[in-house]
């Protein structure tokens, strides 16, 4: 897990490109062994499977951070409280719902906020995957679209406008969490 988090993003994407390689990639090989018709299947040529691969990679890279944070938070939940709840007759599910979850909630919400921020800004992963010959215009995310507008077509004003749009979108999506954080700050 830790290895995945420490892995430089470019290296990670490169490895995944190799895993999904259409001629010699392991994933195609495994699928063929399972009796599926994936011989020579090019994952990156179709927008849908392109995004599937991108999702796999981004998930692969994000999970360790979230897992570690939540794990660290779980170690803060004291055993005494759990035991007390068990003695009072709370079942496993109930203990999770009413004790464990509320205690780790602050961590989960900040991790959620960070993930929203980071995932909305995904750019490099897509860009690197596009190097493998994917149809660029159909596989652009917002970040790549901005890059293409600004650097590619020299439309600086347009790129800036889309950036502000992304900023607004991020603020909108993360507003509840930001407000929570600020409220905690007050107290």
């Amino acid at each position: 897990m830790l290895l995945a988090w420490a892995m430089p993003m470019v290296a990670a994407v490169t490895v995944w490109k190799w895993l999904f390689d259409w001629r010699q990639g392991v994933i195609n090989w495994i699928l063929v062994q399972l009796g599926l018709d994936f011989d020579g299947h090019n994952w990156l040529a179709e927008p849908l499977s392109f995004f599937f691969v991108a999702t796999v990679i981004i998930t692969w890279m994000s999970v360790p951070f979230v897992a570690l944070s939540v794990y660290a938070a779980l170690t803060q939940v004291s055993d005494e409280v759990l035991e007390a709840a068990a003695l009072d007759g709370a079942s496993g599910t109930k203990r999770f719902m009413y004790i464990i979850f509320p205690m780790v909630r602050p961590v989960i919400s900040i991790v959620l906020l960070l993930q929203i921020i980071w995932d909305l800004r995904v750019f490099a992963q897509i860009r690197l995957l596009q190097d493998a010959g994917a149809p660029v215009s159909e596989t652009n995310l917002l970040g790549n679209f901005i890059y293409e507008l600004g650097i590619g077509r020299q439309d600086f004003a347009g790129a800036a406008a889309v950036s502000l749009f992304v900023l607004a979108l991020t603020i909108l999506l993360s507003w509840p969490y930001v407000r929570n954080l600020l409220k905690e700050d007050e107290s």
């Binding site: 420490a6 190799w18 493998a132 790129a159 950036s163 700050d185």
Partner: protein
């Protein structure tokens, strides 16, 4: 746990049918518990494998001769392992100059980030001043700006000041990009140290500076380590800003070099063995470094980021 509690007295009394059925219920519950534990463990193993496999595959491929990699069936173990891929990857393709660039930039960024973030974190959690709250909100929102939107401005600023393709230019951009999150992290640490400690030391006759250096600073050390590790990882792995700020081929950082290395061969069939060797070279220092500091890092990250 509750199952054992219930079953013990039932066995002891051994009597009425109601008690016996209760005991039986308890054993089935325990068996269920064991099965679910088994399922849980299996899932954990599968997930762990999913996460380890790509890393393993990278290292495995990097030691395999390319001819073997091109065969239809993949080889899961590095039979007739070779280091030729590493030699080819580091030979004359600009690896060493890229390594130098990466190291320089990382060190400069690390120092700058720690310095700025530390001072800013102290300021926002120790002093009350006008606009403190809006400063905190600004720090958070700046992180949300898509980096691509800043490219053009950054590029123009750098080219106007002749800082394109220079260590200083990239380091400034990295510092600006990393500082907000580290402020956010360190702020929690500073807030976790009661100001009373410092005041007590001052009552005992230390000067303000001395109280800070002798009391607060040592207590902050784990937080600084955590922030430092984060800054190191970010600066070492960064790709997007480097892509814009370092257009010259001989001034690339390692991630840029790897991409160039892969793209150079994309048309005539990629030499995956060499590419994997190159990836391993970039990933290895970070991974080794990380294995050493991981425990402090996770603890620090959470306690810092979460404490109000």
């Amino acid at each position: 746990m509750s199952a054992t509690h219930a079953s013990a007295p039932a066995h002891a009394r051994g009597g009425s049918p109601a008690k016996v059925s209760q005991a039986r219920l308890a054993t089935t519950a325990r068996r269920k518990f064991r099965v679910s534990k088994l399922v849980g463990n299996l899932t954990a193993i599968v997930v762990a494998l999913l996460w380890v496999f790509p890393v393993y595959w990278m290292i495995n491929s990097s030691f395999t001769p390319n001819a073997r990699l091109s065969s239809r069936t993949p080889s899961f173990f590095p039979t007739n392992a070779t280091t030729a891929n590493y030699e080819n990857a580091t030979d004359g393709t600009g690896f060493w100059s890229a390594l130098q660039m990466s190291l320089l930039i990382t060190i400069v960024t690390l120092i700058a980030v720690i310095l700025f973030a530390f001072l800013a974190a102290l300021a926002i959690s120790r002093f009350k001043f006008r606009g403190r709250k809006s400063f905190i909100v600004a720090v958070l929102f700046i992180q949300m700006l898509p980096a691509e939107g800043l490219f053009i401005a950054q590029y123009k600023m750098l080219s106007a000041t002749n800082l394109l393709n220079s260590v200083v230019g990239v380091s400034i951009l990295y510092t600006a990009a990393i500082v907000p999150f580290t402020i956010w992290m360190l702020r929690g640490f500073v807030a976790g140290i009661p100001a009373e400690l410092e005041e007590a030391a001052m009552v005992d006759g230390l000067s303000r500076t001395k109280a800070f250096l002798k009391i607060t600073f040592p207590l902050l050390a784990p937080g600084l380590v955590a922030a430092g590790v984060y800054a190191f990882l970010q600066a070492w792995n960064e790709f997007t800003i480097a892509l814009v700020a370092l257009p010259a081929a001989d001034k690339q950082t390692l991630p840029l070099w790897l991409r160039g290395f892969l793209n150079a061969s994309v048309n005539q069939g990629v030499n995956w063995a060499q590419v994997m060797a190159a990836s391993t070279l970039i990933a290895l220092p970070v991974m080794i470094f990380f294995l050493f500091v991981q425990n402090k890092m996770t603890g620090g990250l959470v306690s810092g980021a979460v404490k109000g």
